[in-house]
Symmetry: C2
């Protein structure tokens, strides 16, 4: 290989919102795969809110990136050289290769994709980690019952759109929260949500209350901030709150001013018997086979629809990622890196 590999590295840790200065491009020669490895040309890169956490030094459910590391991320790639007998040149695989054009990967870490089931980019979204996050968090923690009200924030996003549609499959009422009229129309008209509420509306809290006349039984939390504040008073006794993300808070650098709402929050957890549970999809790994089967069937039948927001070229990744943290994407954000 004489090709060069262009990569995006973590140049420095963000203080608040990430800026272009936090990213650094470099170019290195493409490496050779060792025994049991393959060389991948990356086709698609997934951009996801969790990456903001990896850019910080704080311990979370995964170790932070080090400054100088290639930015992390799930990818779809084509095998262009294989030293693992399980993979042939031309195979399309799911890998975790990060923000770059080429990557070496251990064959054991890859999942082969079947392009006849769905476009391979969906392995980064509705048929991948984001779809599985929605599926496992909603069904295991949320446990929606027929007739209950399920509210999901960031509802036009990769996780939220699947949450609402699965809630409806289970017989619940799905109320989606999104930013702007276009996204709300999409939730109602394309995805079949029962109601969509625009969190940018000045009377957002009143609109949400009107949308949930029986209160809220499940709130799938992706957002935090003022959306959470509007949801919280509407939670019914025994409500379940899977906490999947807090995108509105990721760029916060200090706790907000008082009063301190934590004691009051705990009092409501007690008096309303609320269940608030943070989770990460890998704790439900044993449900993945069932997920792949059910979700593929729901997509085939049209019961679950998805929307991708595809950005062209690796160089566009930092800007697209910064937009993701502000809700500027519309659908699962994916960068097309190669063909």
């Amino acid at each position: 290989m004489n090709e060069q590999n262009r990569r995006i590295l973590l140049a420095s840790r963000p203080d608040g919102k990430p800026t272009t200065d936090n990213f650094k491009f470099d170019t290195v020669p493409v490496a050779e795969p060792g025994d049991g490895q393959v060389l991948l040309k990356i086709l698609y890169l997934s951009l996801d809110p969790y990456m903001r956490g990896r850019m910080s030094a704080a311990k979370s459910y995964a170790a932070p990136l080090e400054v100088g590391d290639v930015m992390e991320g799930a990818t779809v790639g084509r095998v262009i050289q294989s030293r693992d007998p399980a993979f042939a040149e031309g195979d399309i695989v799911l890998s975790h290769s990060g923000w770059q054009n080429f990557a070496i990967a251990d064959g054991a870490t890859l999942r082969k994709l079947d392009p006849s089931v769905a476009p391979v980019s969906t392995a980064l979204g509705v048929l991948g980690m984001t779809g599985f996050t929605a599926y496992a968090g909603l069904l295991t923690i949320g446990q929606p019952k027929p007739g209950e009200t399920v509210v999901v924030a960031a509802a036009s996003g990769a996780v939220g759109s699947a949450v609402g549609q699965i809630a409806r499959i289970k017989g619940a009422r799905a109320v989606g929260i999104a930013g702007g009229a276009d996204k709300c129309a999409f939730l109602r008209d394309e995805l079949g949500f029962d109601v969509a509420v625009d969190h940018r509306a000045p009377d957002f809290a009143d609109q949400l209350k009107a949308a949930c006349p029986q209160g809220i039984d499940v709130y799938f939390e992706n957002v935090g901030g003022h959306v959470w504040e509007a949801v919280f008073p509407l939670l019914n006794e025994f409500a379940r709150v899977p906490v999947c993300g807090l995108i509105a808070q990721y760029n916060d650098t200090a706790p907000p001013a008082g009063p301190d709402r934590l004691p009051g929050f705990m009092r409501e957890v007690l008096s309303r018997s609320l269940n608030v549970r943070g989770f990460i999809q890998r704790e439900f790994v044993d449900q993945r086979p069932a997920f792949y089967k059910e979700m593929a069937a729901w997509i085939a039948s049209g019961q679950v629809r998805y929307r991708e927001d595809i950005v062209e070229g690796l160089d566009a990744a930092p800007e697209a990622f910064m937009g993701l943290l502000e809700g500027r994407n519309f659908g699962k954000l994916v960068v097309r890196i190669g063909e």
Copy 2:
């Protein structure tokens, strides 16, 4: 009956800590039981922290008392007149008759007690609602595994002492938090807790950290306040927090000053995959038969011990209740009303 019934009523709602002014004594003639009812002479009255909530107007998991109502509470009584064929004069029963000397009760609401199993006052404590609260909350929500660390606050109290002992039966390490050297010695020497930590010690947070070198897997929350603040940083990934009570907060009248810790709390719920769940024992009602059987066996074998703090006479109830909210009792607080 020519006897008079002395009662204690809610005279006014407390603003912060209850005072003697919030209680009013009166005396009325003892009533006659109707069809299907019995007349009870009350022997024991249970005093429990949840009663503080009932004195306020705020909606909680049960309706508040009205001003002028008899103060609520679980009781043990002797049937002195019966118009329900299921009960004979002399039967000892568990009822919910409140703060008074005599009561009429529907037979259908009573549970007959067997004085040969254990002293009948235990139906208000370790073999009653408080023991069941410990059992159901710890086993269903806490799910302690062998070798894990279970921390319980108010550990010498009615619920906490059962939590720690059940945790040890399940093979976990039990760390108790209590106020004062006497209570801590009791936890270690009488109840077999692995460690006891005094929350009044100036270096309480450091002591708790030293007592939990592997972090905390289950925290059974009875208290809130500064105990919760010391516990929270020690919670391990995937820790479970059954929220049973918040006695340190019950008298608060306004949220404390800032900063607002709620966003930071939610961030930790997410990044450590914490499960924080408020509960009330009645949601686990189907586990009661198993509880009565297991707990009676544990008491018989000496695996669970209990301590009662018995106060003499109905008139002492308000003062004893105010002391309970400040941790002045030592063991399950019960008022002996009759013999």
